[in-house]
């Protein structure tokens, strides 16, 4: 009991209770068109879940997110390592990467829409574009920061190029890539919702749009809550993976 009181659980629980109470109060004192109380949101969430509609939308969004995100990782990491090792290619491509990294990706959606229409592929492209740059950027910066002395140690022990990547460059870079992955989770989720807003007839994002147009505010809140919790879960997962790969860093 003492440990719970002195630990982080008490402030955490109190804050949650206060937040929910505030939400409830605010919801009860504003027009239902703007905001609904916590209790009503929960009720609507339960309805959506019970009807099976939520599961379908969730699965749809998850498929989109995982596909786009996996592509971002599978392309971003090897490409980042390659750019770190091939200086001239990096110098040539760096300005484009910087510009794309800095550009709010939402601005590209109309262009993607006009190029590719409403299928699954353009949505995946949006998630991919949102997610790849933190992964790519962190991988390049990480791989470049490796000490030349360690490369020299590998050479002294007669490492071949493949073993150099396997034993030195990749393990050194992984924690940096994972930092990028964690950042990319947040961006990827934004990409997922944005893609579903503009390019979709399915998914959680589209469900939010539909509910909003139907003035179903409690559904809007319920869906936002689902996405928010999904984001928190994914961030935590990313942090766990990052720490697992960064065990050797003090």
């Amino acid at each position: 009991m003492h440990r719970i009181l002195s630990g982080r659980y008490l402030p955490f629980a109190l804050s949650l209770i206060a937040g929910v109470a505030l939400w409830e109060l605010a919801g009860r004192n504003t027009s239902a068109a703007f905001m609904v109380p916590f209790s009503e949101t929960m009720l609507r969430l339960w309805e959506l879940a019970a009807s099976g509609a939520l599961a379908v939308q969730f699965l749809d969004s998850a498929t989109l997110f995982i596909t786009g995100f996996a592509l971002a990782l599978l392309i971003g990491m090897p490409f980042g390592l390659l750019l770190a090792r091939l200086q001239s290619l990096r110098i040539a491509l760096e300005p484009y990467i910087m510009v794309l990294y800095a550009t709010p990706m939402v601005a590209l959606i109309p262009f993607i829409l006009s190029m590719m229409g409403f299928g699954f592929a353009p949505k995946v492209l949006v998630v991919f574009l949102f997610a790849i740059f933190p992964i790519l950027y962190n991988t390049i910066e990480g791989a470049r920061s490796i000490k030349p002395e360690l490369i020299e140690v590998a050479q002294s022990f007669r490492s071949n190029e493949w073993a150099l990547w396997r034993e030195v460059i990749v393990p050194y870079t992984l924690p940096f890539t994972m930092t990028g992955v964690r950042q990319a989770v947040g961006r990827g989720l934004v990409g997922m919702v944005a893609a579903e807003f503009f390019l979709s007839s399915t998914g959680l994002g589209q469900a939010i749009m539909m509910s909003s147009q139907n003035f179903d505010t409690s559904a809007v809140f319920a869906l936002i809550l689902v996405i928010g919790l999904l984001g928190v879960g994914l961030m935590r997962l990313g942090l766990t993976i990052e720490n697992r790969f960064a065990r050797w860093r003090d």
């Binding site: 020299e152 140690v153 002294s156 022990f157 007669r158 393990p171 050797w248």
Partner: protein, 276 residues
């Protein structure tokens, strides 16, 4: 003459190292762009011989070792190890680095296993050898530790084990104990001597400590000048095995003074300090 045990009689009191030449460096020259580091270096090391190389910092000791290890291309001259001309790192030569050079993401065990894996040694042999060399350097119990969890002295023990594990013919030591505190350094010096007695190899031992050079070396090579060159080679006729007692022998003091004198014979070598 003091009595010596039969075991010690079997080998020469003074290690002359004149049997087979293991390392032969001829006319070696190296420059970094406009900076000529050294020129016309001639150096030989025999089987089981320890050649200590002293010189002020910046005189090119590390560069010389990197050339001998085949990590750096030379501009003139050649390096031959066991009649093999060195142009890239060759098998059977291992280096111990001043900065330890441990892979921070690998445990002690995996760091020691690294050289063996690169050498294509069988898995069974690796699992046999790694614990042996971890014990030899006194790191038993730290197999699973990461470098950041260990002191500098322990990290260099690990670096030493990694080099020894490939059972090299030639060991290249680049100021291996320069980055650890004085007390640890002394302990490590005598441990290295003990290990070397058990399994002597040819060793080039680079240091900027005169005492350390005299303690370790069968010969001390003095590198100085800009571009640097071998100024003098001093034979160290101290008996082996060398122990803490060696430090108290009058002959040790004489030799230390000789190396000191050689290094100081030109005025501006002020950055030098005496002491191991």
């Amino acid at each position: 003459m003091v009595a010596v045990s039969t075991r010690e009689k079997l080998k020469p009191m003074v290690n002359s190292g004149n049997n087979a030449i293991r390392i032969r460096v001829r006319g070696l020259g190296k420059r970094y762009g406009a900076l000529e580091v050294f020129r016309g270096i001639d150096l030989e090391a025999g089987d089981h011989e320890i050649v200590a190389i002293v010189g002020p910092s910046g005189c090119g000791k590390t560069t010389l070792l990197r050339c001998i290890d085949g990590l750096l291309a030379v501009d003139s001259g050649e390096v031959v190890v066991d009649s093999e001309r060195v142009t890239s790192p060759i098998a059977g030569v291992a280096m111990v680095f001043q900065h330890f050079g441990l892979f921070p993401w690998k445990t002690v065990y995996d760091n020691v296993a690294y050289g063996l894996r690169m050498a294509g040694i069988s898995r069974a042999e690796i699992t046999r050898r790694v614990p042996h060399f971890i014990n030899l350097v006194g790191l038993k119990g730290f197999e699973k530790a990461f470098p950041y969890q260990m002191s500098g002295g322990m990290q260099q023990r690990c670096g030493l084990a990694r080099a020894l594990a490939i059972e090299p013919r030639v060991l290249l030591m680049d100021e291996p104990f320069a980055a650890v505190d004085a007390q640890t350094r002394e302990i490590l010096q005598f441990e290295l001597l003990r290990i070397w007695e058990q399994r002597p190899t040819t060793m080039l031992f680079v240091t900027h400590s005169i005492e350390e050079a005299v303690l370790m070396g069968d010969r001390v090579v003095v590198l100085k000048g800009r571009p640097s060159n071998i100024h003098e080679t001093i034979a160290i006729d101290l008996p082996r095995p060398r122990t803490r007692d060696t430090l108290r022998e009058p002959r040790f003091g004489e030799l230390r003074e000789r190396v000191w004198g050689t290094l100081m014979s030109e005025a501006r070598q002020a950055e030098f300090q005496l002491g191991a």
